[in-house]
């Protein structure tokens, strides 16, 4: 309970900090936040999965991420997971936790073009990338805001240089 509140406040402050530092440059601010998330995800993924047996394959790992890790990270399960079985996964979370605190209380859909809103998911973006990289699947993650939730698109093993 307490740690959730603290984390929320910390997250807000960090977003605000990078937003102020890079006033006209959302890209850079997002990149910084994403890096922080990556670093956290990389160690957290290792820690949370240390008791588990090795996952069979990519899909298994992503399922574990959606079912168990998502509860640890965002206190709920994902709403939808889709894949094309060629390394692309789309995770949809209809009520993304880090957006709830700030925006949904106003009860209107989130504007995906609003720069501040994108900053609020940059950290989580890196978090997922870190976790999957640690589990042996380097990937590229992109995220977009849909109404009240977020849709993460994960591309495992992106072609080198396509970053």
């Amino acid at each position: 309970m307490v740690d959730e509140t603290l984390f929320d406040y910390l997250h807000m402050s960090i977003v605000e900090h990078y937003n102020n530092e890079n006033e006209n440059d959302v890209e850079t601010a997002s990149a910084y936040l994403s890096q922080i998330g990556y670093r956290v995800g990389y160690s957290l993924g290792e820690r949370l999965s240390k008791e588990n047996a090795r996952y069979r394959d990519e899909l298994d790992t992503v399922k574990y991420l959606c079912k168990e890790l998502w509860i640890c990270l965002f206190k709920r399960q994902v709403d939808n997971l889709r894949t094309n079985h060629q390394g692309v996964y789309v995770i949809h979370d209809g009520r993304f936790r880090l957006l709830q605190q700030t925006l949904t209380t106003m009860n209107k859909p989130i504007d995906s073009n609003n720069r501040l809103h994108t900053l609020y998911i940059a950290y989580s973006n890196g978090l997922l990338r870190g976790i999957l990289t640690n589990m042996g699947y380097p990937c590229r993650v992109t995220a977009e805001i849909v109404d009240f939730g977020v849709r993460f698109q994960i591309e495992v093993n992106p072609v080198v240089g396509q970053k």
Partner: protein, 142 residues
């Protein structure tokens, strides 16, 4: 160092509401000693899980030290070599304390005088009472 401080300040400003909601028994403090007590035994206890001891009161009773036995914030932290040694990792706590107390009309100054992270034996946090913010009171309060 400043950024950490202001991040902490922003956290503190919001944290005080959460704190008062969680600890409904906490009322108005009669003096600064009571404030120190609540800060240590309830504030630190709730959010960091430790209760620092209060020592080194100044003769005037407006300044005290908090001695932290262990600091959960820096448990896995090691300062990098070189310029990184100057990094005030704990500054965020100072900011949070200042922010939180400012919201209850107390202006304080807060700084670390000793820090285990920097090689000192203990971690000592010094809090100094500056003034009561009377002007900031909302109408109808006293």
């Amino acid at each position: 160092m400043k950024s950490y401080y202001f991040s902490g300040y922003n956290i503190g400003v919001r944290l005080i509401d959460d704190f008062l909601a969680r600890n409904p028994t906490v009322g108005r403090c009669n003096d600064f000693r009571e404030t120190a007590d609540i800060l240590s035994k309830q504030g630190f206890k709730t959010y960091l899980g430790i209760a620092p001891s209060i020592t080194n009161w100044s003769p005037a009773g407006d300044e005290f030290s908090l001695l932290l036995d262990g600091n959960p914030l820096t448990e896995f932290v090691e300062l990098p070599e070189g310029p990184g040694q100057k990094l005030s990792y704990n500054q965020i706590i100072c900011g949070a304390i200042r922010g939180a107390l400012e919201m209850v009309q107390l202006e304080v100054e807060c700084r670390f005088v000793q820090d285990q992270l920097k090689g000192d034996n203990t971690t000592e946090l010094r809090v100094k009472f500056l003034k009561k913010l009377v002007d900031a009171l909302p109408v109808g309060e006293d």
